[in-house]
């Protein structure tokens, strides 16, 4: 099977680590800026960006086939339904 292309170099991994550490700094910095309700959204946005980096590079999702990509996206989709519908319920009680 395709072997060679499925290896991340140490350099790539290290740069991703640096990016993750930098984003941690950004999220801590952003928490000192008062944006009201948007603080949570900024924090979640940065966290999602970090999560994407971990998923794509550390967890090799970038190299995976359709079965894994689609099943992962479905999980995220169902998570969104779970969160969305709960809020729908709570907001209109």
């Amino acid at each position: 099977m395709e072997k060679k292309d499925h290896i991340f170099s140490y350099k790539t991994l290290f740069y991703v680590l640096l990016a993750l550490l930098a984003l941690t700094g950004v999220t801590v910095g952003a928490s000192y800026v008062h944006l009201g309700k948007f603080n949570v959204w900024v924090a979640l946005g940065i966290a999602s960006l970090k999560a994407t980096l971990v998923l794509m590079v550390f967890m090799h999702l970038k190299f995976e086939g359709r079965a894994l990509i689609l099943s992962f996206l479905s999980t995220v989709f169902f998570l969104a339904i779970m969160i969305g519908f709960t809020f729908w319920d709570v907001a209109f009680r």
Partner: protein, 204 residues
């Protein structure tokens, strides 16, 4: 993928990985449910949650985030090392991530210990007599960080087993699904922390 299974002496590495991912999806939904609880109570008790967040020590949060990110990097590097047949480096990397996990748990011990000393623990008088939102915040704090801590322990066990298999030469460049799956689990634990950290420690 299919041809691999039919060849004698070969195992279905892709299948093993898919199985791990299916398990990880259930973990995502498990923690997702807890995050839903967090989100709902955050909108109900925004002020108490902000007060609660101020009680948590940011230094512990930041240090533990950095530790987990480094350990995730180490595990990813260990897989690259195994793929390149650099066994010694792989062992060092797995050992390093195990060390990071241990430091994380020690930090957690001191952090929880400090909170408990202040009278903040499930069913404590301070929480029961205080506002409901505060009780909710720390209840979720203990459940989510506790469950996450349990995952750290399981992940470390899984990594330690992989360490043994790499040492024994049973994990090789051609067959490393065990280490890869241990790594996937470890990264998931890191992923959860990436969301726990800002939601609990950085909320203002």
């Amino acid at each position: 993928m299919i041809s691999q299974v039919n060849e004698p002496g070969k195992t279905d590495e892709a299948g093993k990985k898919l199985g791990m991912w299916l398990f990880l999806y259930t973990e995502i939904i498990l923690f997702g449910g807890l995050f839903v609880l967090y989100a709902v109570y955050l909108t109900r008790y925004p002020n108490e949650f902000i007060e609660g967040g101020k009680e948590l020590n940011r230094i512990f949060g930041v240090v533990n985030t950095i530790i987990l990110l480094i350990s995730s990097f180490a595990v990813a590097a260990a897989i690259t090392a195994v793929q390149k047949d650099q066994r010694k480096l792989a062992l060092w990397a797995i050992g390093g991530s195990l060390g990071c996990g241990a430091i994380f748990l020690v930090n957690k011990y001191f952090e929880w210990g400090h909170k408990i000393a202040l009278g903040i623990y499930p069913n404590s008088e301070r929480l029961l007599d205080g506002p409901d939102g505060q009780n909710m915040f720390f209840g979720l704090y203990y459940v989510i960080t506790g469950l996450h801590g349990l995952h750290i322990v399981i992940g470390m066990t899984f990594l330690a087993v992989s360490f043994g298999f790499v040492l024994a030469g049973k994990v090789t460049a051609k067959r490393f699904a065990l280490l890869e799956n241990a790594g996937l689990y470890w990264h998931l634990v890191d992923l959860i922390w990436i969301f726990v950290f800002p939601l609990f420690y950085l909320i203002i």
